[in-house]
């Protein structure tokens, strides 16, 4: 059996990779991808706690479903905004939009 702390460590590592990517990359699409990575780390946490938490119950998995929906929503809006920016500026590089 894999212990709870192993899941939490993996989630934390994935979250940190995502945060690093979101803060360091210049390409907007990569930034969006990194934010998705962070949200997936959150899902991993919720699901691990659902099974191995102090009070195991199902509502963590419900939140995970909501998080996925909201992640898709944010990316949809993000791509729409990116498209309007690209029409005006012809670039998606974060250094060049200013």
């Amino acid at each position: 059996m894999v212990s709870l702390s192993a899941y939490l460590t993996v989630a934390l590592i994935v979250f940190c990779i995502g945060l690093f990517g979101a803060l360091s990359h210049k390409n907007t699409l990569i930034v969006f991808l990194s934010i998705e990575l962070m949200l997936n780390a959150v899902n991993l946490n919720f699901i691990a706690f659902t099974k191995y938490g102090f009070f195991p119950n199902i509502s963590g998995q419900v939140i995970a479903l909501f998080v996925m929906t909201v992640a898709a929503l944010e990316v949809a809006i993000g791509l729409a905004i990116l498209l309007t920016l690209y029409r005006n500026k012809k670039t998606i590089d974060l250094d060049e939009i200013y």
Binding site: L19, M38, L39, V70, K89
Partner: protein, 486 residues
């Protein structure tokens, strides 16, 4: 288990939702050539209906439906009142002000998004569950991303929307990460059960996990109310968005974030769990230090700004600091003080942005446009003076009483860091006079660049009258109509 749901406590939310759907359907069904201008009045009507239904619910005691996920208690009553009042004022502002170039086509989208944000905010005030809190927060955030980026022809707006969206989704991810730890310890999403479960867990290591989870939650949420760790997006976004949207972000979205934090802090993070724990005082002190930093940063940066929208953005960071200090003082008065300040702050911010939108008319909000305003339109100049005096916190207005109440609640905290914060708040208030009075001086004592009369528009006159009347009423008689239902 009780299955008889008392659905009537949700009628204010339902009426907002019905207005959203009605506007959406009407826009699809009506022929293209019919003017959509009156959609704004429809939205105002919807909020009035919601307000009326809300007033009929006031005598109710604490009621909960949907397995305790939606509660209607005194907290919800107080903040729903502020949100509905602010939302109505914002809609009046949107109806009355001139839209930017090319925005006339998007009447339906604009009102639907604004009402969706109002709906999300009202859900947050009543929700008693992490899932509904999170969904309410996302309703507000996502509709504000679109609202900021609506003017898609302007490069400045595109940039503002992208900055806002990226900061916002990063903040959402961080908030959720904090929530996941809290859920892990408590094993429930119900806020009331949280405390009970926390006290049952005996493992001391969970206390640290609890604090870490809370820190993540705080950092993520501070994006919404623009205090220190996550405040640098504000000036760019406030400048790039339309003035109405800026008013929405500064008065409405900010207060919703603070309400959510307030709800969490008083149900989940109440002192009973962590009272004697050393981590609690560290946590409280760090909140106060962050509040102090935001006040200093906001006020110092505002002095150098020549663009009035940027100036108000920095001033809004500073006000976020004041309100955060009031919440973080955790004293007996903080609930009353913060509620009062929310009401006052949303009123005067909407009022100030109304005049900015009136005068700039969709152009750049440079300080030059305000010179000699008293000579051309004295009424606007006097109203703006009242709002600025109230923002600065000077006596005859509600801003003074609000700041005074906050100070009392901070000093009541009683530890050295509380006194330092209180002194810092007084000092920073004096610093803030520098920029408010600079604009006032140029309005009264300089000659206008061009002779220009501003036309009077009815919704804006109603709005300004409401804002000024309430500012003076609760400024001179602070206990006037002190709600017996809170």
């Amino acid at each position: 288990m009780d299955f008889s749901y008392e659905w009537h406590v949700m009628t204010p939310e339902f009426s907002i939702l019905m207005t959203i759907i009605l506007i959406g359907i009407l826009d699809v069904l009506l022929p293209k050539k019919i003017d959509r201008k009156w959609f704004g009045w429809l939205a105002v009507g919807g909020t009035f209906l919601s307000f009326g239904l809300f007033l009929t619910l006031l005598p109710l005691d604490r009621t909960s439906i949907l397995f305790d996920t939606f509660i209607f208690d005194s907290f919800a009553k107080g903040f729903k009142f502020i949100l509905l009042f602010g939302g109505t004022l914002l809609l009046l502002l949107a109806v009355g002000s001139k839209k930017e170039q090319g925005m006339e086509k998007y009447e339906m989208e604009f009102y639907v998004l604004l009402l969706t944000a109002l709906f999300g905010g009202m859900m947050i005030t009543s929700s008693n569950d992490l899932i509904t809190l999170f969904i309410g927060l996302e309703l507000v955030s996502v509709s504000s991303y679109v609202l900021v980026g609506m003017n898609k022809w302007s490069k400045k707006t595109n940039r503002a929307a992208l900055t806002f969206l990226m900061n916002g989704s990063l903040a959402t991810a961080i908030t959720l990460f904090g929530m996941s730890y809290l859920y892990g310890i408590a094993g429930t999403t119900q806020l009331q059960t949280f405390l009970q479960h926390f006290s049952e867990v005996s493992n001391p290591a969970t206390r640290y996990l609890y604090i870490i989870g809370f820190c993540f939650l705080f950092i993520g949420l501070s994006f919404k109310w623009t205090t220190m760790p996550f405040s640098l997006w504000a000036p760019d976004v406030y400048e790039g968005a339309q003035t109405i949207v800026t008013a929405f972000l500064s008065a409405f979205s900010k207060i919703i974030g603070l309400i959510m934090f307030f709800r969490l802090i008083f149900t989940v993070f109440s002192e009973t769990v962590l009272d004697q724990h050393v981590m609690f005082s560290i946590f409280q002190n760090s909140l106060l230090i962050l509040a102090l930093l935001s006040m200093t940063f906001g006020n110092m940066m505002a002095i150098g700004q020549r663009n009035v929208k940027r100036l108000l953005a920095y001033s809004s960071i500073a006000h976020g600091g004041y309100m955060l200090a009031g919440i973080a003082s955790f004293s007996a008065h903080s609930m009353e003080a913060v509620t009062y300040y929310f009401l006052v702050y949303s009123l005067i911010t909407i009022g100030a942005f109304t005049i900015v939108s009136y005068i700039t008319d969709g152009n750049e909000a440079d300080e030059q446009t305000f010179t000699g305003l008293f000579k051309t339109t004295p009424l606007l100049a006097i109203s703006l003076t009242i709002f600025f005096i109230s923002l600065a916190g000077l006596p005859p207005t509600a801003g003074f009483i609000g700041k005074w109440k906050l100070l009392i609640s901070i000093i009541d905290g009683g530890s050295p860091i509380h006194y330092v914060t209180a002194i810092g708040m007084i000092g920073m208030t004096i610093v803030s006079y520098a920029y408010y009075f600079r604009i006032m001086a140029s309005m009264y004592f300089q000659y206008p660049n061009k002779e220009e009369k501003f036309s009077v528009r009815l919704p804006l006159v109603i709005l300004l009258f409401l804002c000024i009347a309430v500012t003076f009423l609760i400024g001179l008689l602070p206990n006037f109509g002190t709600p017996t239902w809170i």
